[in-house]
């Protein structure tokens, strides 16, 4: 919401006074809450109904059976580890990139700004395909995948690094967007003052900007973790869905669905919802600036 300027305020006050009495005002308040509440409820109720439908579809016995399967336990483990790792990797990139985009005007800035958003707008399967092509595109006799597997001893495609890379590509883009908005909302004067007091630009960033952006970092971590959890398309294409190896919960749902185990797929989906709620709750409780 924009602030009311000095010129607008008297006009606004006059407008409001002429159009509403105190009783009329209360009535219009009820109308306001009915409209906003109704619109808000349409979305909240839809999500609640989706969850209720899932719960009604999967029996408790089935849920217990599914989550005790070794494949699903391995999938939960890899999901928690990979989502957490990609969140940290994402923050390491998102904080400096978001800061640069928010604070500085430099040649080619708009190109970088656009490129950063591409993983957000690109269809997930295309992103997976692009990763696959990147690692297997021959440059003469040289291929990125061969270099990693021969020189670094680490096969990427259809292995765990592909899971991390696929999750990182998407979740980092969301984290960058969040951090950029965070730094844009922070007043740069505090950093300028720090620099007049003898801080270098790096010190101003580390000692002033970063501590001030902690709430944004928690928000970025939350959204990055959640995006990594739900990532499916790029993992399917680039990492494959090998049970107990590259299987994460989103691909577990696909595997169960593909073998006709609909109740198992729903049970895994509910597990994902539960995990996401627990992690988001932890971040809200322990993050700076606790929200209600």
């Amino acid at each position: 919401m924009t602030k009311t300027t000095g010129q607008e305020a008297p006009r606004l006050a006059a407008d409001c006074n002429t159009k509403s009495t105190s009783v009329g005002s209360r009535r219009s308040d009820i109308g306001f809450f009915l409209v906003t509440g109704g619109l808000s409820a349409s979305f909240v109720v839809l999500i609640a109904l989706l969850l209720l439908a899932d719960i009604a579809f999967a029996s408790f016995g089935q849920f217990a059976n599914v989550i005790s399967k070794p494949e699903i336990l391995a999938s939960v483990r890899l999901t928690l580890l990979s989502c957490s790792a990609t969140t940290i990797m994402g923050l390491w990139v998102a904080v400096p990139l978001g800061y640069l985009l928010a604070r500085f005007r430099f040649p080619g800035r708009w190109v970088i700004d656009t490129l950063v958003d591409i993983p957000i707008v690109l269809p997930p399967l295309v992103l997976g395909l692009s990763l696959l092509i990147l690692f297997h595109l021959p440059f003469g006799h040289w291929k990125l995948e061969h270099w990693f597997s021969n020189e670094a001893g680490l096969a990427i495609t259809y292995n765990w690094p592909a899971v991390l890379l696929a999750q990182f590509t998407v979740s980092c883009a969301f984290a960058v967007r969040t951090m950029r908005v965070t730094f844009e909302q922070l007043d740069p004067r505090a950093e300028d003052v720090a620099r007049t007091l003898g801080c270098t630009r790096g010190q101003a960033f580390l000692q002033v900007a970063m501590p001030q952006s902690r709430r944004g970092m928690v928000a970025a971590a939350t959204i990055a973790w959640a995006r990594a959890l739900g990532e499916f398309g790029p993992i399917l294409v680039f990492a494959g869905v090998t049970r107990m190896r590259t299987e994460v919960l989103s691909t577990s749902v696909f595997l169960e669905l593909s073998t006709g185990q609909l109740d198992a797929a729903v049970a895994v989906s509910l597990l994902m919802v539960g995990l996401a709620m627990v992690v988001l709750l932890i971040l809200k409780v322990f993050g700076p600036g606790k929200s209600q």
């Binding site: 391995a74 483990r77 890899l78 580890l81 990979s82 957490s84 790792a85 940290i88 990797m89 923050l91 390491w92 395909l129 696959l132 092509i133 690692f135 297997h136 995948e145 495609t157 259809y158 292995n159 765990w160 899971v163 991390l164 010190q203 580390l206 000692q207 970063m210 501590p211 399917l236 294409v237 494959g240 869905v241 090998t242 049970r243 107990m244 190896r245 595997l255 669905l257 593909s258 073998t259 006709g260 185990q261 609909l262």
Partner: protein, 265 residues
């Protein structure tokens, strides 16, 4: 500065620990099987049976088989881009022929057969008995996409020969990516009838198959192709032998409702 440095250092240590745990997670799963580990591109219609065969193979030989599931055409595209993996098992041998034409596959071996059936909820509530019933306006019919899935392609080819394709195409409510998506739609009640392979029905006890002419004449032959130039050729052939062995792969394929090689001719 102290807190920021602590945060930066702590996050790096956490990241190192997490990556170490992920690498260890993959290493533990590889134990005893990394030498002969192969990767197979497998059609979604064969996913349930392949899961069982791969588990048996690991138990019997200690060797790991990585699997990549999806629609046959999508798998062929993935193979063409990555040129990784050892085996390619689409839902129909025409895709193996295409892979051979593109010099992606060197040799192929027959595994089993599947037949096309129309699937409906148990009890056949919409009384679908013949091809003309599928064209009724009150019947919501779903099919697999002929451009991506073997069954869609085979259905189209079969009905083009009999001259019925146009009518079925017009009567189709939606095209789905894989044959299992079609079966799931019928199971959930999003469709009244679907065209699937008989072997897929094994995973859906709540559904029943209806033989409908001329679709019932369409049979898909499943072949597995060995990826050209794979460095694990011997390991790949060992798994093919296991798939073809009557006491191993063939028995499992039979259990999952496929027609075995012995039924040929």
């Amino acid at each position: 500065m102290h807190r920021t440095a602590l945060l930066l250092g702590g996050s790096l240590i956490c990241l190192a620990i997490l990556i170490g745990l992920i690498a260890n997670h993959a290493r533990v799963k590889d134990e005893g099987g990394s030498d002969g580990r192969i990767m197979i591109y497998c059609a979604a219609s064969n996913q349930a049976v392949m899961e069982a065969v791969v588990a048996d193979y690991l138990r019997d030989t200690g060797r790991v088989v990585q699997t990549q599931y999806g629609p046959s055409q999508a798998l062929l595209s993935q193979l063409a881009i990555s040129r990784r993996g050892e085996l390619f098992l689409p839902a129909d041998d025409s895709y193996v022929a295409m892979a051979k034409e593109k010099h992606l596959v060197s040799q192929s071996f027959p595994i089993a057969n599947m037949r096309i059936v129309v699937v409906v909820p148990k009890g056949n509530p919409k009384s679908i008995h013949r091809f003309s019933d599928l064209l009724r306006p009150d019947v919501r019919l779903v099919q697999a996409n002929p451009e991506t899935a073997a069954i869609g392609k085979l259905t189209r080819e079969t009905l083009r020969i009999s001259g019925d394709w146009h009518d079925l195409d017009q009567a189709t409510t939606a095209y789905r990516t894989t044959v299992t998506d079609v079966a799931n739609d019928v199971l959930l009640g999003a469709a009244d009838a679907g065209v699937i392979f008989d072997a897929v029905l094994q995973s859906y006890p709540e559904l029943e198959a209806i033989d409908v002419m001329p679709l019932q004449l369409a049979t898909s032959r499943i072949e597995v192709g060995v990826v050209l130039g794979t460095s694990r050729h011997d390991a790949a052939i060992a798994f093919v032998d296991y798939l073809q062995a009557p006491q191993h792969g063939q028995q499992t394929y039979l259990q999952f409702g496929f027609q075995s090689l012995a039924d040929d001719d």
